[in-house]
């Protein structure tokens, strides 16, 4: 039997995230330009595969079958794969799972994973209205489920009732991620600080969420290179970062299929984590730094629990006691997370992967001391799907 190849993340780039006067193709070109500066040894001709993530390209950018257009606009001529994936908020993280498989199997050697979304439309109503189509249209959406704050508000309510989580603990998530995001010039809220007083005084979005509990509406694009170990070595002198394990779960399309006993329990995330840890031959205690999907403050609290960084029900205290800070037990969202960098759905996974790549190579802005193993996580839709990818400076033996 032929020896299985190993897949590595080499580096990447992103455009400025925010309310952008730009199309998805403009932003993808900016991200690619940044990527070329991050990996000077990479030539466009070396890239044999493109996996492009976007959910709203067909609707917000009038572009169905978008992958060939992206290839053309980025000067790529793929020969192994050229495809678009649509898993909403986890788009480019899903693409990374696919890229890992294609490289380990020998089908591809060097894949660009990129993602983008144009969510700020010429008129504001349209971005809210479009979200009706990102849920189960004929069922939950017809009940008024469009943008997610009301659903996650009920999740927060459930967690507060069941586990005693407080508004101040949710505020600790936001304040911590604003502290991290302050130093990220490409984030939507880069350069902004948030105090707990400002957090508590912010206008209500929907109970119990204030403005700073929610990630903003963001345009953006990001791109990373996933390559075989041999090609990664030829491309860069930096430390190699291996893709060790992945897991992805989907339990339901609409609310009737919610898998938890209450909204505060996310067994589908726990399962995705278990699968990824098993594949990566690691445990939650091995993870030195993580990027989890902080679409809302409460999300990060539940994620650190279900991913095993702390006990179930203790996520609020874990964050509030500083365990997710750069010198804490498990630093989380060290580039500012969705709450401050913003969340252009398909671009978020690659943005997280790029931060983890930098952390493991020792070149992040908010650098954790000597990390060896790291994790990224996305949830998609109204918590319908969970995606986990685990990286390491050593491959699985």
């Amino acid at each position: 039997m032929a020896e299985t190849k190993r897949a590595c993340i080499v580096g990447g780039g992103m455009c400025k995230f925010g309310v952008r006067a730009a199309t998805i193709f403009d932003m993808l070109q900016e991200a690619t330009s940044a990527l070329s500066k991050d990996i000077p040894g990479l030539k466009p001709q070396e890239i044999d595969g493109l996996i492009f993530a976007s959910t709203t390209a067909g609707r917000n950018s009038n572009s169905l079958n978008t992958a060939p257009i992206v290839a053309h606009r980025l000067g790529l001529k793929p020969t192994s794969i050229c495809v678009r994936v649509d898993t909403l908020c986890s788009g480019s993280n899903t693409a990374i799972i696919l890229a890992k498989g294609l490289i380990e199997s020998g089908i591809a050697e060097v894949i660009m994973v990129c993602g983008t979304e144009k969510l700020n439309m010429p008129q504001r109503w349209e971005s809210v209205y479009m979200n009706l189509m990102t849920n189960d249209h004929d069922w939950d959406s017809a009940m008024g489920l469009a943008v997610p704050p009301p659903f996650f508000g009920m999740i927060a309510d459930a967690h507060m009732k069941k586990y005693g989580t407080t508004k101040a603990q949710m505020g600790a998530v936001s304040v911590t991620n604003y502290d991290y995001g302050f130093t990220n010039p490409l984030g939507q809220f880069g350069g902004r600080k948030l105090t707990i007083e400002e957090y508590l005084d912010a206008r209500t979005v929907c109970d119990p969420f204030g403005l700073n509990d929610c990630c903003p509406v963001t345009d953006g694009a990001s791109a990373v290179i996933i390559a075989s170990e041999e090609r990664a070595k030829a491309m860069t002198d930096r430390k190699l970062v291996y893709l060790r394990g992945t897991g992805q779960t989907a339990t339901h399309g609409m609310s009737a299929g919610w898998p938890g006993e209450t909204l505060a329990d996310w067994p589908h995330l726990k399962k995705a984590g278990e699968v990824a840890y098993k594949n990566a031959q690691l445990t939650p205690q091995d993870i030195d730094v993580a990027q989890t999907h902080d679409c809302f403050s409460i999300s990060e609290i539940i994620e650190v629990e279900e991913l095993g960084f702390c006990k179930k029900g203790e996520g609020g205290e874990f964050v509030a006691s500083g365990q997710v800070r750069v010198d804490g037990k498990t630093p989380v969202n060290t580039d500012g997370g969705l709450l401050t960098v913003g969340h252009p759905y398909g671009a978020t996974g690659a943005r997280q992967a790029l931060e983890i790549c930098k952390q493991l190579q020792g070149r992040a802005i908010n650098q954790v001391k000597d990390p060896k193993f790291a994790l990224t996580h996305n949830l998609s839709g109204v918590c319908a799907q969970h995606t986990v990818v685990i990286y390491g400076t050593e491959p699985v033996k």
Binding site: Y129, D138, M143, G144, P150, A256
Partner: protein
């Protein structure tokens, strides 16, 4: 704005009054479009129904054409109980999606053990903001939504539509 619209300089002039499904917030409900049309036909009679598998007995929600438990196509329509309790809710005071009035009240419902559903996300109507409480009993209620035209050979058929939400049970 009206002048702009009448002059067709605004919006999508080529639609000229035609229906576009792309922007429709409601389901296609008629038998020309959807094999689950009995769900909507039953709803027009005030019934809340779903499919039950005759082979394995599993009750689905939403209803299906093929059983999600055993993949049999041998299904029947059954009525399901129309009352539930509010576990949690939120009231969106402004900024509800186009087509929904503010305040938009949505709730997470819990059903008792005899019900095939465990929980469900729903809209609450016929209820003023500030009135609903966790633990309140609510019931299934239907309402009309806009009819749509469907081309059937050389004719246009107008399809009337309904949808459902929940409302507080009067004490």
């Amino acid at each position: 704005m009206a002048e702009l619209q009448s002059a067709k300089l605004y919006g999508v002039p080529q639609l000229d009054g035609r229906y576009s499904q792309v922007l429709d917030m409601w389901p296609l409900e008629s038998e020309e479009s959807n094999r689950l049309f009995p769900f909507y036909d039953n709803m027009k009679q005030g019934r809340w129904t779903t499919t039950k598998c005759k082979k394995c007995g599993y009750i689905h929600y939403p209803p299906v054409v093929t059983c999600t438990n055993c993949w049999s196509e041998d299904l029947e329509w059954v009525d399901i109980p129309k009352k539930a309790k509010v576990v949690s809710f939120t009231e969106t005071m402004a900024g509800a999606p186009l087509g929904f009035d503010s305040p938009l009240i949505v709730a997470w419902l819990g059903f008792d053990k005899s019900h095939p559903l465990k929980h469900l996300f729903v809209r609450i109507i016929n209820c003023a903001a500030g009135q609903l409480k966790a633990g309140d009993e609510v019931q299934f209620v239907t309402f009309e939504v806009p009819s749509i035209p469907i081309d059937v050979k050389k004719d246009v058929k107008v399809c009337d539509r309904v949808y459902y939400a929940f409302e507080p049970v009067k004490k």
